[in-house]
């Protein structure tokens, strides 16, 4: 990545209403930013949704986007988790080729990554794995050699470490 371009993880708490996602993503799109991952769901307060957005970009431009996000009427709070002590998780399901001769090896990989096989067919395993983005990247790379049929990742979610929100 060119200098100044770093990966940011931004979380927004928003009103749980139609159209809010379009408003938020529009601010990125208008500046030509690609959203690397996006996870949206309700929070413990069902009237509030939480969006976790991962994007690569120039710090100054992102600061401007963060300020603009704050200005959206439906946005309650914006937190930039970049450089903050956080716990992060992502979940992936990976459908991997599993011929009889490969099954043992795949099961070993699954074991090491504390993943789970959640579906099985004559030719495939479907593996569920949770962890940091890096961990999921790693298991993906290992399973790749067996041939991945299909993969879906939820996108990263994060929380601050410790008692503070």
């Amino acid at each position: 990545m060119p200098k100044n371009i770093i990966q940011h993880t931004i979380t927004t708490l928003v009103e749980n209403r139609p159209g809010v996602l379009a408003r938020v993503s529009g601010l990125f799109a208008r500046r030509g930013f690609n959203i690397e991952s996006l996870a949206v769901s309700i929070t413990n307060d069902p009237s509030i949704s939480r969006m976790t957005i991962v994007v690569n970009g120039d710090g100054n431009v992102l600061e401007q986007i963060t300020k603009q996000l704050n200005k959206l009427i439906d946005v309650i709070k914006v937190i930039d988790y970049t450089d903050q002590p956080t716990v992060e998780r992502e979940l992936a399901m990976i459908k991997v080729n599993a011929e009889t001769k490969n099954r043992a090896e795949i099961m070993q990989i699954v074991d090491i990554f504390r993943a789970k096989i959640i579906d099985i067919s004559e030719k495939t395993f479907t593996v569920e794995v949770t962890g940091s983005v890096a961990k999921i990247d790693a298991i993906e790379a290992l399973l790749e050699s067996h041939g991945i049929q299909e993969m879906v990742r939820t996108g990263k979610i994060v929380m601050m470490r410790g008692a503070n929100g």
């Binding site: 928003v14 009103e15 139609p18 159209g19 379009a22 408003r23 529009g26 208008r30 401007q64 300020k67 603009q68 704050n70 200005k71 959206l72 009427i73 439906d74 946005v75 309650i76």
Partner: protein
């Protein structure tokens, strides 16, 4: 007692002080127009194009400080509003636009005259609503007014499906709005204010740079007080004109691309720049790293997203300009007039605004005559182009909300409908509409409502038979390749005025200017269209070419080598 959603909507508008609506009806907004038919508290002005309705509401807001309201039907009516909404958004003007929409059951089905107007206007509104539940009408209208008029003002659109207008509802007025996600900062941080006061006391070469935010915050009085007590000279942006009377000895007029040379010199050499309600637009700054490069910058603005957006700010103060200036003034001691001011005044004598005097009809002369005839007291509504810059340079504003023009978007065609909004808002003032021969043709149809409502708008067409501003750029930067700027083919504006029922006049000689203007000042029951045949290839100077610095400022037409 139950009433219809449309009636609830009209009542809600009245409840928030709406006295005038500019609009255009159609199928999906029919229930709302039907409810309006019975309402005696609101005047509706039928424009001849929805763009005109938006511009009129926008200018009504600029002239009064109140929220402007416009109506349009769904689909093409709503899309015709778009330019007007974008215009209000760029200049932070409080406006509420109500659009009809197809029934909620037809949404997203490409029903007749359906357009996703909330989607279309998302990036050009401060906020918008698709009002799907009739129960929400009073609350949504209350929120729309609150959002439009507080913090950094802006347009809000409310899209109302037909079945919502037709529904039966219990109307309960909503006056108080509480939004957990929208809390504009009002008071400035006291520590920042104290820092700013210190910086002002310590500065040797300070300048104030005031923008439209001063006018929308009603902070002119405080601005003038600050300038007088500290003897700091003030330059304003195009939208800031009138924030300090330009007849005031401390006023330097406008800065930027076509600003006065002395205002730009002052900013280039100052050691403290106090920016108030201004956003460092590229038409003001030119080349960013050369802008006020010796200066410490104080930035007072209601919008936190403006702070540090393009220019590094040393002392940001976020909040309402008026409240901040009131607090700041508590810390400010009188300062003596310094040698710095003398230096700037010297520049003022050395590099005054000037134009040729050779018997031809010059636009600058026309503006000076308008100023004279109107005693500097007219509301001046100005279009976009060369004439806009001449008006900004030569019409010395004496009060806030006097100078109404499209700044941020630069919308040709804004001014005639805007003049309608302004004259409706200010029946007590002479309203001059200064417009190009190009711009007037973009919204000429709005002569009709001006005639219908007997609005004595004085329309000054600065007729150079060119898209003059574009021609100027072609002359200076594109080798005089005058591609598609010739407007010699144009209607006879006198006959056109006559056709609409307005008064038409053609003025070709300098000595005919004043009699024509005086005659226009006499007419009080219809618009006057004055076709001023000005020197065709006159240019606007000074000029700092786009993206360049004061070193590249041109004071006059380059001499041919």
């Amino acid at each position: 007692m139950k009433i219809t959603g449309a009636q609830a909507l009209i009542r809600s508008l009245c409840n928030h002080g709406t006295e005038v609506i500019f609009g255009y009806p159609g199928g999906q907004i029919l229930p709302i127009y039907d409810a309006l038919y019975d309402c005696e508290d609101v005047q509706h002005i039928l424009m001849r194009h929805e763009q005109g309705a938006a511009h009129a509401a926008d200018a009504y807001a600029r002239a009064t400080g109140k929220v402007g309201v416009c109506f349009a039907t769904s689909g093409p009516g709503a899309t015709n509003l778009v330019t007007g909404i974008a215009n209000a958004y760029m200049d932070s003007i409080p406006m509420v636009a109500i659009t009809g929409q197809v029934r909620t059951t037809s949404l997203g089905k490409d029903a007749f005259q359906e357009a996703d107007i909330t989607g279309i206007t998302m990036p050009i509104t401060k906020h918008n609503y698709l009002l799907k539940n009739p129960k929400d009408i009073a609350r949504v209208i209350a929120e729309a007014f609150y959002i439009a008029s507080t913090g950094r003002p802006g347009p809000v659109l409310v899209d109302v499906p037909m079945d919502v207008s037709l529904a039966q509802v219990d109307y309960v007025p909503v006056d108080k709005v509480e939004l957990r996600s929208y809390k504009p900062t009002i008071a400035g941080h006291p520590i920042q204010i104290a820092k700013a006061a210190k910086a002002i006391a310590a500065a040797e070469r300070p300048v104030i740079y005031a923008g439209g935010g001063v006018i929308s915050a009603d902070a002119s009085e405080e601005l003038v007080e600050l300038a007088e007590r500290t003897n700091i000279l003030v330059t304003t942006t195009l939208l800031g004109k009138g924030a300090i009377p330009e007849t005031h000895p401390h006023s330097l007029g406008m800065l930027g691309m076509h600003g006065t040379a002395y205002a730009n010199y002052a900013v280039a050499h100052c050691d403290l720049l106090v920016a108030i309600g201004a956003r460092f637009d590229d038409r003001v700054t030119g080349k960013l790293d050369a802008f006020a490069k010796k200066a410490k910058v104080i930035h007072i603005d209601v919008d936190p997203a403006e702070v540090g957006k393009t220019v590094h700010v040393d002392i940001p103060i976020v909040g309402d300009c008026k409240k901040i200036l009131i607090e700041l003034l508590k810390h400010i001691r009188p300062r003596e007039e310094s040698t710095w001011n003398k230096q700037v005044m010297q520049w003022k004598t050395e590099y005054p605004l000037k134009y040729t005097n050779d018997g031809e009809l010059y636009p600058q002369f026309v503006i000076e005559e308008i100023w004279d005839v109107s005693k500097g007291d007219a509301v001046v509504v100005v279009d976009v182009g060369q004439h806009q810059m001449w008006a900004a340079q030569y019409y010395k504003c004496t009060f806030p909300k006097q100078f109404i023009t499209s700044g941020g978007l630069g919308t040709m065609g804004f001014s005639l409908p805007a003049a309608i909004g302004a004259q409706v808002a200010r029946p007590d003032k002479a309203v001059f509409n200064i417009v190009g021969d190009g711009g007037i043709q973009m919204t000429i149809q709005e002569l009709m409502p001006a005639v219908v409502h007997k609005l004595p708008i004085k329309i000054v067409i600065m007729n150079n038979q060119y898209l003059g501003m574009v021609r100027q750029w072609q002359e200076l930067f594109w080798n005089k390749r005058y591609s598609s700027v010739d407007l010699t083919a144009q209607p006879d504006f006198i006959k056109l005025a006559d056709a609409y029922g307005a008064v038409g006049m053609k003025i070709e000689k300098p000595e005919d200017v004043r009699p024509a203007l005086l005659k226009a000042m006499e007419i009080d029951d219809r618009p006057t269209v004055m076709d001023f045949r000005i020197a065709r290839e006159e240019n606007v100077f000074p000029m700092i070419p786009a993206g360049q610095s004061i070193e590249e400022m041109m004071l006059h037409r380059p001499k041919i080598k």
